[in-house]
């Protein structure tokens, strides 16, 4: 116990730094993947058969293969095959490579949710808008968008909760997120080695953050419950 008390300041400092990386990756992924997913979804529903086919293939590849492999490919492929290590070896490069992999991966999952959301809105809504002299743009923004958001909030919430935990996969390209930080004390770091508790303690960080996310997303869902 005394030993743990002595280790605590060092460990928490390292875990906080690691969790900061986790959160950065989390937010960057959302900022990138939420809009990109919409573009991909619109692409799959496009009248241009080639674009639609291309987007469907991308979704199939990205959702059908492990994110861990995607991380490895995106980070190592440029240097390994093209002889141009665009990301560099530093922490920043690793972070951006991980961000790109996560954004693409999650955008494809979001795309399928968006598509479901868009298609869940009856055609009658569009027709009602058209006969009232509204443009397709107005119909999208003033009629369909909010209904679509309401339809996708629950499935998107699920993905967001999963994303928080998935960020730990980025350690495969040595992005030093919180689990890496926790495990370093097991391997030996900053004079502490063989300490198991920091690794297990990382779970508390995830739990707290996912608690906050669950409450926030639940509120959003509730705010949209005024219509059916």
């Amino acid at each position: 116990m005394e030993l743990i008390m002595k280790q605590m300041p060092i460990v928490f400092n390292a875990l906080n730094v690691g969790f900061l990386h986790t959160l950065q990756l989390f937010f960057i992924t959302l900022i990138g993947a939420l809009p990109l997913g919409l573009l991909i979804a619109l692409g799959t529903m496009s009248r241009f058969k080639l674009l639609s086919l291309f987007n469907r293939i991308v979704i199939w590849i990205v959702r059908g293969s492990p994110l861990m492999i995607q991380l490895l490919i995106i980070y190592y492929f440029p240097g390994l095959v093209l002889h141009n290590p665009i990301w560099g070896g530093g922490e920043t490069g690793r972070f951006w490579a991980a961000s790109v992999a996560f954004i693409i991966n999650y955008a494809c999952y979001f795309a399928e949710i968006y598509r479901g959301g868009i298609q869940s809105i009856p055609n009658g809504q569009t027709e009602a808008g058209l006969v009232l002299g509204m443009t397709h743009r107005q119909i999208f923004f003033h009629v369909k968008l909010l209904q679509m958001i309401k339809a996708i909030v629950p499935p998107i919430s699920n993905e967001i909760i999963t994303l928080v935990k998935d960020t730990s996969l980025s350690r495969i390209i040595a992005l030093q997120e919180i689990i890496w930080a926790g495990q370093s004390f097991l391997k030996g770091s900053q004079g502490i080695s063989g300490a198991v508790w920091p690794l297990f303690f990382t779970a508390i960080y995830y739990l707290v953050w996912n608690g906050i996310m669950t409450v926030a997303l639940g509120r959003l869902e509730k705010r949209l419950s005024y219509f059916k």
Binding site: Y75, H83, S189, Q190
Partner: protein
């Protein structure tokens, strides 16, 4: 569909072609970008963080000195040890300098420098039981925790003793401390730093060496940085820099003379 297939084939061929024309000089490449990226893990006393969060250690300091000698900055970056060859070939790092044992596997996967330090695989036992084992044959019947794929695992397997593979050397110590394995086999330099009085594992001690081995620095296959480093090692041994750095970290006894 046929068109797509032929396009893919063409792309694949182009890639193999470009792969064939590797850089002429790795040294020129590193000097061109002005930075040597060194892949490490947290491995006291070779590479570890000081209170200020900077990487220090015998390997870290030597790497910085080497960088200065070829006129580039040195960036030490923590990698996943399992991916070290991927990192090298993917050019995300330029060398692996982290108390790396020069095994046949390592030497076939990368171009290595001359050996610069001696190491051994040593047996870790609970301090109170160490006296009951007089020699290596007495250890038969014990279960050994070893790092998966490590030199230690190979040594124990060669003896025909039972092993439990775990993911890091530090984990093997956990196993012995927790009593889930009877003994462990790890690097001597690491054992010196992590086991015994004044460490996290005061109840453990290290006894026999199962072999002797050497540490070296790994580069991309065919890299001319190997020659540059060998020349640097020779020079720094000749003028005593290497020995001075070794003394800072208490590893002077392990240094291999360079010529």
């Amino acid at each position: 569909m046929k068109k797509l297939l032929s396009l893919l084939l063409a792309a694949a061929m182009l890639l193999t072609l470009t792969a064939a024309f590797a850089e002429d000089s790795d040294l020129a490449y590193v000097q061109g970008k002005g930075k040597l990226v060194v892949g490490i893990t947290d491995f006291a006393p070779m590479d570890y963080k000081n209170e200020a969060g900077e990487w220090i250690g015998f390997d870290a300091d030597m790497a910085k000195a080497f960088g200065a000698s070829i006129g580039v900055e040195v960036e030490l970056i923590e990698i996943d040890w399992d991916n070290k060859v991927l990192e090298l070939n993917g050019k995300t790092i330029d060398c692996v300098w982290n108390g790396m044992t020069l095994t046949d596997e390592v030497k076939s996967a990368m171009s290595c420098s001359n050996a610069y330090a001696n190491n051994a695989q040593v047996v870790i036992l609970p301090a109170d039981k160490a006296a009951s084992y007089a020699d290596v044959p007495a250890l038969s019947g014990l279960t050994f925790a070893v790092e998966a794929g490590s030199a230690g695992e190979a040594e124990v397997k060669a003896l025909g003793y039972a092993t439990t593979a775990v993911s890091t050397q530090a984990d093997t110590l956990m196993e012995v401390a927790a009593g889930t394995s009877d003994a462990a086999v790890i690097d001597a330099l690491m054992a010196a730093a992590m086991v015994g009085e004044g460490t996290g594992y005061a109840g453990l001690t290290y006894t026999f060496s199962l072999n002797s081995e050497e540490y070296g620095v790994g580069f991309r296959t065919g890299s001319d940085l190997v020659d540059a480093l060998n020349a640097f090692l020779a020079a720094s041994y000749a003028d005593g820099t290497m020995q001075a750095i070794a003394e800072t970290y208490g590893v002077q006894a392990a240094i291999i003379p360079q010529a």
